[in-house]
Every structure is written in C-alpha cells, then in structure tokens.
C-alpha cells in the first residue's frame, strides 16, 4: 500500500455481520505488512467490538446500525466501530477484566481488544452510543521503533 485507504461500512445489528467485519479487516490487513497471527488477533478484537455493539449497544435488536471505518496507511491499520445504542455508564469499569452487565458473559471483550491491538480508545455516552477505536501497527513500523 503506497497511500491511504479508507473503507466505510454500515450494516444492521445482526450476528451474521460479525463475520463480515472480520473478513473485511483481515482482507485489508492481508495486503499490508502483517502475519497470519496478526490477522487472527485483529479478527478477535474486531469480533469483540462488533459483538458488543450488537449485544450491548443495541441489546440484540436487529434494527440498529453499526458503523465500521477502517483506515490503512503504510504504518498500520485503524479500526473504528460505532453504534448509536444505549452507551456505557462507566467506561473504566466496563474495561476491567471479568466485568459484564450480562450474567452469562465472560466480560473479557475489552481485555482481548487491548491485548490483541496496539491501542484501544473507548468513547461512550449513555443513551447516545459507543465508539471504539483500535490501532494495529505494521510489522515494519514495529521494527522501526525497536
């Protein structure tokens, strides 16, 4: 990739689209300086963020819209997942390991996002929605820093 590529997606909050988000992110990463391990890691992170938008943001209602913005440049890949759902009351608390507002869940989604991506920012407003921004640096960019 010589220049910047920015792909924007909009899709309804149904579980089928988690797989779609994964494939799109993986395909964009595959054209860059990343390994299969990087792809697997990013796929888990994106699955978690999109699942959260559907399950928590829209409480599993199929009529919400999820927005995915993927920006690739020679340094790395940025993924933004947005929903206009219920929002998060306490983001710091929500990001703690094993915290979940649903009884039967592991509460590890944000932990996975943070361990598999180089950077994760969460912006949320109750009743407005949630925006998760994740970044993964290319292998080459990583080497340059070391």
């Amino acid at each position: 990739m010589k220049t910047k590529n920015q792909v924007k997606l909009e899709f309804p909050s149904i579980p089928e689209n988690v797989a779609l988000a994964r494939v799109i992110v993986a395909t964009m990463l595959a054209g860059m300086d990343f390994t299969l391990t990087d792809l697997d890691d990013a796929k888990v992170a994106v699955s978690e963020a999109v699942s959260n938008a559907i399950l928590h943001g829209y409480q599993n209602r199929p009529n919400g819209l999820v927005y995915l913005t993927i920006t690739a440049d020679p340094e790395g890949l940025e993924v933004i997942v947005e929903d206009y759902g219920r929002g998060i009351v306490d983001v710091a608390k929500a990001m703690e390991p094993a915290f979940s507002t649903l009884g039967d869940r592991m509460g590890m989604g944000f932990v996975f996002m943070q361990s598999f991506m180089d950077k994760v920012d969460v912006d949320s407003q109750v009743g407005r929605g949630t925006r998760v921004r994740m970044y993964k640096a290319c292998r080459q960019a990583m080497r340059a820093v070391q």
Binding site: A19, R22, V23, A26, T27, L29, A30, G31, D33, F34, T35, L36, T37, L39, V44, S47, E48, M106, M108, F112, R139
Partner: protein, 77 residues
C-alpha cells in the same frame, strides 16, 4: 471421476467445501516452511506469494474453514 468430483465439490454447501479445506491446509504447510527458511513468521503476502495466490484468497479460505467456535474455544483450544 474427475468430473464427478468437480460436480460434488462445486455443488456442496460452501462452508464444508473440500477445496477450501485443501487450500487452508496448504496455507498452514507453507506458513511452517517459510517460518523455517526465514527464521521468523512470514507475512500473509509472503505466504500468498509462495502459493502464487492473491492474498484475499488466503483470507477467504481460512475464514471459510473456520468453524463457528466461541471466543473461548478460539483462544484456549
């Protein structure tokens, strides 16, 4: 026999397609070979290059053979 096999492959439900499985197995083999020769994990582009295949086909084959496992199984298998 070749014709029948082709017919079976092409008309089988996509998710359990034999050709995707074969490609995925080859991907893992090439990944291991390159790991040995390069002394580090190869990039997807390097794997696709060695297989003479577009990178998106590598992604597609791996995604197609992935069973709908939960996140737990994915991470702790």
């Amino acid at each position: 026999v070749g014709e029948i096999r082709r017919f079976l492959r092409d008309d089988s439900p996509v998710k359990v397609s034999r050709s995707y499985k074969e490609i995925a197995q080859r991907i893992h083999r090439v990944r291991q070979e390159l790991n040995g020769s390069l002394g580090r994990e190869p990039t997807v582009q390097e794997i696709a290059g060695a297989m003479n295949m577009p990178v998106e086909d590598v992604v597609e084959a791996l995604e197609a053979v992935q069973l709908p496992t939960s996140i737990h199984e994915t991470l702790y298998q």
